[in-house]
């Protein structure tokens, strides 16, 4: 019987042929923690009597969620992470480096076929490279740092086939939102999504990461794609080891199949406060906005800044809107400076903040006011998500966010593209 990508990776990591439903203990290739989850993992590590880490090269810690620190108490927690990393010789990305998920892939820490865990729910992002990566809690991160392995139930997979071709003005984020609506916020619970089809093939690696990033918004344990020549090319400047491609067997068994014809897709918007309450932009109606946010592990990459800047060029942000842009990494920031996108955004009346998670999680930099409507490129619009439970968060593509920042209300980007 053929295997899915998930079954192949778990078979390799356990040294035996496993299929969906099997319980396994598997070796971990990379483990990651961020500043919201690592301090608790360090405490768990100590309480577990951890004497050392299994392999310092396979652990990365990233200070990205609440960085630079807005409070003494947070600085203290950041210090704990710094000291722990120094003590055990772990790779650390301090404030200003960028978002954990962007760094894990762009710094070449993940390759196809890897089994990766991260103490952050959007760890599923690396599936775009053909790695099985999934989010865990702090205690499990501590356990992995000690033992180098973790237990898993090999998940069933849902085969997602993205057919057709994306029309102009419609992006991978719109596909991700359309899928969330189709599958539902818990429709892939305990399962893996395996994306394929001509739309996936046509997307750049950066755009593919947007799709797998949002797998967890459908409850999925992981979101995977078979890596291809484009993946190998993208990774070639980032890794110094051979890149082995991995693909599902033609007779692999799936729990079910979801087909989406992307040729007829229009821009999509997720309405407050559920990520799967998604409507075509034509049906949004009149929604004035007070804040627009470009960034996050979903859409803070160079391609997103390029799209937003091309729309903002020569135009002005609406006087009642605050546009905040947070590059996903220092490299994205530098690219935005080199290409003039940073100047365009600031010239238009927007602001750039530290590479990192920015206002997404509501800890600093851009907490909305009561009753504000916010249009954001993030992956979550839960009530209270950006730090104020009286605000309303709408999710959309970078193009929709940029256009809406200009008009002051949620606006279809298709009329603004050259």
């Amino acid at each position: 019987m053929g295997k899915t990508i998930s079954e192949k990776i778990f078979s390799e990591k356990t040294g035996r042929s496993v299929t969906a439903g099997d319980l396994v203990i598997a070796d971990i290739d990379m483990a990651m923690g961020q500043d919201g989850t690592t301090p608790l993992a360090i405490r768990s590590f100590q309480e577990m009597n951890g004497q050392g880490v299994f392999d310092p090269k396979k652990i990365a810690l990233v200070i990205d969620h609440n960085a630079p620190s807005p409070l003494e108490a947070v600085s203290e927690l950041h210090d704990q992470i710094r000291h722990f990393a120094d003590k055990y010789g772990l790779r650390i990305f301090d404030a200003g480096c960028g978002i954990c998920h962007e760094l894990m892939v762009s710094e070449g820490l993940v390759v196809p076929g890897d089994l990766v865990i991260g103490a952050d729910s959007h760890t599923c992002t690396y599936g775009a490279l053909g790695a099985f990566s999934t989010g865990v809690g702090s205690s499990e991160l501590a356990a992995v740092m000690i033992a180098g392995k973790l237990w898993f139930k090999v998940p069933e997979s849902i085969r997602v086939i993205l057919e057709g071709r994306l029309p102009k003005g419609v992006y991978s984020k719109d596909v991700a939102l359309a899928l969330a609506a189709e599958i539902g916020a818990d429709g892939a619970n305990y399962q893996a999504l395996e994306y394929s089809g001509p739309v996936v093939d046509a997307l750049s690696v950066e755009e593919r990461l947007t799709l797998t990033n949002m797998a967890v918004e459908m409850g999925a344990k992981a979101g995977l794609m078979a890596p291809d020549e484009k993946t190998r090319q993208w990774l070639s400047s980032r890794i110094n080891k051979p890149c082995r491609l991995i693909a599902p067997d033609p007779d692999a068994v799936y729990a079910r199949e979801v087909r989406l014809d992307c040729s007829r897709l229009t821009p999509r918007v997720a309405l407050p406060h559920q990520v799967d309450t998604v409507v075509p932009i034509e049906e949004v109606g009149e929604v004035p906005i007070r804040q627009a946010f470009l960034g996050t592990c979903t859409n803070g990459r160079t391609v997103d800044f390029q799209v937003a800047a091309s729309i903002l060029y020569g135009r002005s942000v609406h006087p009642s809107v605050r546009l905040i842009a947070a590059p996903a990494s220092r490299a994205v920031f530098l690219e935005a400076v080199r290409k003039g996108w940073a100047e365009t955004i600031v010239q238009a009346g927007g602001m750039l903040v530290t590479p990192g998670c920015g206002p997404c999680v509501g800890t600093h930099q851009g907490v909305p006011g009561d009753g504000w409507n916010v249009i954001s490129t993030a992956n979550r619009n839960f009530k209270g998500r950006m730090g104020n439970n009286k605000a309303f968060i709408y999710l959309a593509s970078p193009a929709t966010v940029a256009v809406s920042a200009i008009t002051g209300r949620i606006t279809d980007p298709r009329g603004f593209l050259a």
Binding site: G36, G137, S139, D186
Partner: protein, 166 residues
């Protein structure tokens, strides 16, 4: 093992931001402090209503969203002893077991706020003493039962130093 407590009911898709908002969890590791803020975006008085040993009862997809382990830990600190839901998001489900918070996947549609519940872990039965109904919970995988029996992943790892074969 048997637990008895009062139900506090919520709806579907209760996410980790509702359980404990991100604005608190990044500041402190003091779970008693976090426990005062659990569920406050949905019910500002929640933590003052909970008596130690009570149960939280919800619909589908409980705990969706963030991987923050502060969510189950803060629930425990608030006095909640078990969460019963029609289904759970997977990261929360694992985190709860790892923290020693009992999670029971069962049909919760007939349970109302204030109902007295008894959970019998050996039979997997949840009895609602207020309406006389009994529902059967979905059993846990063996490794989760072992971790829960040790009181969570920390005592489990303290004892074994690694994961025992499943």
């Amino acid at each position: 093992m048997e637990l008895r407590g009062k139900a506090h009911t919520f709806g579907d898709d209760i996410n980790t931001d509702y359980i404990i908002s991100g604005k608190y969890k990044f500041r402190t590791l003091d779970m008693n402090e976090l426990g005062k803020h659990v569920m406050e975006d949905l019910d500002p008085d929640f933590s003052s209503k909970v008596r130690p040993g009570d149960f939280l009862v919800a619909g589908k997809n409980f705990g969706c969203g963030s991987s923050r382990e502060q969510a189950p830990r803060a629930l425990l600190a608030s006095g909640i002893r078990a969460v019963l839901a029609r289904s759970f998001a997977r990261i929360f489900f694992r985190n709860a077991i790892n923290c020693g918070l009992a999670v029971i996947e069962c049909d919760t549609s007939r349970i109302e706020s204030g109902d007295e519940l008894v959970i019998d872990f050996s039979s997997g039965e949840v009895s609602d003493l207020s309406n006389g109904e009994i529902v059967v919970a979905r059993p846990l995988p063996t490794i989760m039962i072992r971790i829960l029996e040790e009181g969570g992943l920390i005592p489990y790892f303290k004892k074994y130093g690694t994961f025992q074969e499943v």
